[in-house]
């Protein structure tokens, strides 16, 4: 357990310091959680909503954290589930449109909080077209260099399945990029 987690757990362990501990939790985890969420939902405003909901859920479900997993694993699991649930509820943003103007790539290029070029927008569209689990596995592995063992704990999926998901994700992304080159 790292030093930050130990401090946070100590503060959260007492009602008198719970709120202080929770604020510390937000300070430590808001940024890493945000970027994991953002890569799934793509849009800043959506990521902000999901991040808030994630911490509200952590607050209300704190008594369910029994220390069986790392604090970070438990938190990341909540965040990723919230992001995936958000996508399911807001399907209209990610669904592929027959109208070229409404593709994910074009939406991103028009977004004030997207700093990439057309090629990067196309890569994000390729990732957005993946099924949810493949998209999540790809983002965690490719961008976060997360070990399969850690992803396995977060998604509660076997390492073998995750490796297969990642391999499929890479294949599909490559195929999409070649077709749209």
């Amino acid at each position: 357990m790292n030093k930050n987690d130990a401090e946070i757990l100590g503060l959260l362990g007492s009602p008198a310091t719970f709120r202080k501990g929770f604020e510390r939790l937000i300070n430590v985890y808001s940024e890493p959680l945000y970027w994991k969420i953002r890569r799934i939902v793509l849009i800043h405003e959506d990521a902000d909503d999901v991040l808030q909901n994630t911490f509200l859920k952590i607050w209300s479900k704190w008594s369910q954290f029994q220390g069986k997993s790392n604090l970070s694993t438990w938190i990341y699991r909540i965040a990723i589930n919230e992001a995936i649930d958000y996508l399911r509820r807001k399907k209209n943003l990610i669904e592929i449109s027959p109208d070229d103007d409404l593709t994910v790539a074009n939406r991103l290029l028009a977004d004030d909080y997207f700093d990439g070029d057309e090629a990067e927008a196309l890569l994000q569209e390729a990732i957005a077209r993946l099924p949810e689990v493949q998209r999540t596995v790809f983002n965690l592995r490719y961008y976060n260099d997360m070990k399969y063992s850690e992803i396995s704990q977060i998604l509660n999926t076997s390492e073998g399945s995750l490796k297969a998901s990642y391999h499929l994700a890479v294949q599909k992304i490559t195929k999409f990029l070649k077709l749209n080159d």
Partner: protein, 126 residues
């Protein structure tokens, strides 16, 4: 690492093309803490996307059950009255059982799906 992955990494790297508003993370903690109670309590998480239609399943299932029970009661009452009128004590021929569907009973009760749904949605908005 396979060839496809290498190719993606060569072309795109791990560049982070997303930005956040200035001061977003500094401000986030204050915004969130302001939403939390002073002491640890259970709070509900709302999903703005679904705020227009909020289904209270237990209550609505109870209401639907009550409506359905009323319709069935009307149906059986009609059936009882209908058969009692027509039955002859010495009748031995097979009787044709007239099936009255729930839809027909509902029509008799002057309720339709739109009325039921409107009633449910109206309750949901309160």
């Amino acid at each position: 690492m396979n060839n496809n992955e290498s190719s993606i990494k060569r072309q795109y790297g791990k560049n982070q093309p997303f930005k956040v508003p200035e001061g977003y993370f500094d401000d986030f903690s204050k915004r969130l803490m302001a939403q939390l109670p002073a002491q640890k309590q259970n709070i509900s998480v709302s999903y703005p996307c679904l705020s227009r239609v909020r289904l209270v399943f237990k209550y609505q299932i109870w209401r639907i059950s009550l409506i359905a029970a009323s319709v069935v009661a009307v149906f059986f009452s009609l059936n009882f009255i209908f058969f009692k009128k027509d039955m002859q004590p010495d009748q031995t021929a097979q009787k044709t059982v007239q099936k009255i569907t729930v839809d027909q009973a509902a029509d008799y009760a002057m309720m339709d799906n739109e009325d039921i749904y409107a009633d449910l949605v109206d309750d949901n908005t309160h």
